[in-house]
Amino acid sequence: MFWNLPYIAVVLLTIIGIATILLKKNLIKMFLGVSILTSAVNLFLIVLGYRDSGIAPIYTYAPSELMVLPTPQALCLTSIVIGVATSALMLSFAVVIYRYYGTVNVDEIRELKE
């Protein structure tokens, strides 16, 4: 891997994700930040399993050649499935909150204070 560029990509994606979550006031944009952060973690997991010039771990293609590790890909798939469920639930919450609060601005959704 050329001076581990993917890990730099993971760090950048994480920073962008965290910045979007913390700086944005709109709920939907925060959810975007969360999905960026999830994709950063997924990328991190996939890149961990990479072996130099390894092929995709599909057994019937070439069982003898060097293969990339399959476990992180399974972890990443489960993480994507959980990401789908989380974002579906979050977006449904945003729809209901918009109907009752009339706003999706995070500063105005503070009925529950101290």
Partner: protein, 155 residues
């Protein structure tokens, strides 16, 4: 919210193609990088296609939530049931009792590069079908519920 005739016609044409492709991805889960979840998501987009093309009232007739709920529960039960059968055979939960047993999906995988035989993989294809059916029902219900959120305000 009813789309024009052209869009509705194309949606009708595309619907079977998308469903077949999704089922293909589900069925070949143990050979290609597809599988239950991805195939189920592809098929759920077919449901989304119909929802976008037609108005809310027409969809109530076509796609019934109860049917998708039965589909979702059925898929999950099949997934757990197949794992429970392994318990009945005296081995542990999720044991792959069909692999290399010559029964359904029981062929052994030939060594060396080959296109891959659908009839291998033991319990895995059954699991993929179960997850595919469940995700199809689940995601369709999610879209329908989210859709019902919009129409209440008559957008």
């Amino acid at each position: 919210m009813r789309m024009s005739k052209i869009v509705r016609f194309c949606a009708d044409m595309l619907y079977p193609a998308v469903v077949i492709f999704g089922l293909y991805v589900i069925m070949h889960g143990h050979l290609t990088p597809g599988g239950g979840f991805q195939g189920g998501a592809v098929v759920a987009t077919a449901a989304a296609l119909v929802i976008v093309a037609y108005s809310y009232e027409e969809i109530q007739g076509m796609l019934s939530k109860f049917l998708f709920q039965v589909q979702e529960s059925g898929g999950l039960l099949m997934f757990g049931g197949v794992a429970l059968i392994a318990l009945g055979l005296g081995t542990t939960y999720f044991f792959n009792f069909l692999a290399n047993s010559g029964l359904l999906f029981g062929m052994s995988v030939p060594f060396g590069p080959n296109p891959g035989d659908l009839n291998t993989g033991g319990v895995l294809p059954l699991m993929n079908i179960a997850v595919g059916v469940e995700v199809w029902g689940g995601l369709a219900i999610v879209i329908l519920y989210m859709l019902s959120g919009i129409t209440k305000e008559g957008v």
